[in-house]
Subunit: 179 residues, 2 copies
Amino acid sequence: MTRHDKTATECATKTPAPDASSEPSSADLLRLDNFLCFSVYATGHAFNRVYKPLLDELGLTYPQFLVMAALWEGDDRTIGSLGGALGLESSTLTPLVKRLETAGLLVRRRDTRDERVVRVSLTEKGHALRDAAGGIPACVFEATGMGLAELVALKAGLERLRKGLTAYAQDHGEPGDGR
Amino acid sequence: MTRHDKTATECATKTPAPDASSEPSSADLLRLDNFLCFSVYATGHAFNRVYKPLLDELGLTYPQFLVMAALWEGDDRTIGSLGGALGLESSTLTPLVKRLETAGLLVRRRDTRDERVVRVSLTEKGHALRDAAGGIPACVFEATGMGLAELVALKAGLERLRKGLTAYAQDHGEPGDGR
DNA sequence: CCTAGATAAATCGCGCACGATTTAATCGCA
DNA sequence: TGCGATTAAATCGTGCGCGATTTATCTAGG
């Protein structure tokens, strides 16, 4: 109660007055098929369904695959660094990485310089998996049924969107410590 | 074992031979920042972070909000119909809808014509919530930091992509019952 | 030194999300 | 009519994903 967040009502007041008669009604604005966020949400699920059979062969889930990809790019990283790259919290990564360790793909050990941080590094098996995963991008590209140029443009738009949303969440989500 | 899926290796064979010296290497193809799927994945998380404080006021999670939006669009729907609209399984929806019922936003009752199906309909409170949610689209639009035209184009691209991925998953994911 | 605050992971509880299975009702067809 | 096949939800087990809290370690200030 004491906390004073920006409310939906506040935002609504910023909506330009409904002067233009051709403007969509508020009813329309709440239609599911108008939601960009729903497109993103559902496309994420669709990607997952394409990846699943491919990743099953490797014994990975999709988030696990992303962690492995991050490690193939740069080995011997901390949990925090992985979290930064993937946008995930330690509460998500810790158990996920432990599963990858159980699978023998990596090892976790505390940094000797600073015992707080955990360094994650690939095993031989973890490195080897990269070759097995080599065919996946081509598969997924084929699955999109779209041209390379379109996909590149789409990705650029998404990155812009992501940046905007992240900046906004930073400003409006955090409690008012304007540090 | 007996099942014979299309494997990543199979797909990989469709990859043009690594002859062209200017082609991106397989190493590049596995770079995280080249993954469109990662952009989609991370943008979904970013949307969630923007929605969370807004939906907290309504006492909804993001998937719950989508279900409510679907019901605002068309009330008295079955679990299956909701699943079709949102791309979710009954195993996801059943508990989610039960939580919305506990919150007093809707009621579930079995169809008298066909006792297998469950019909979900909004309560007074469920309808009323629509007004409280009215400001959200404007908030989210503001959060994107992008223009309307861009967002519309982005959504169109995503829908095309989703359609492609879904079609592919249908063909390649299902066991070979080409009935 | 040694303690107050900061920092990195880990832990806990909750809610998705799915595949596989189960339960219950309906349909089809001989 | 009756009984196998189909269909709709529900149930179960596993793995994300997050916020809030906890634990362990490090850093600064006195």
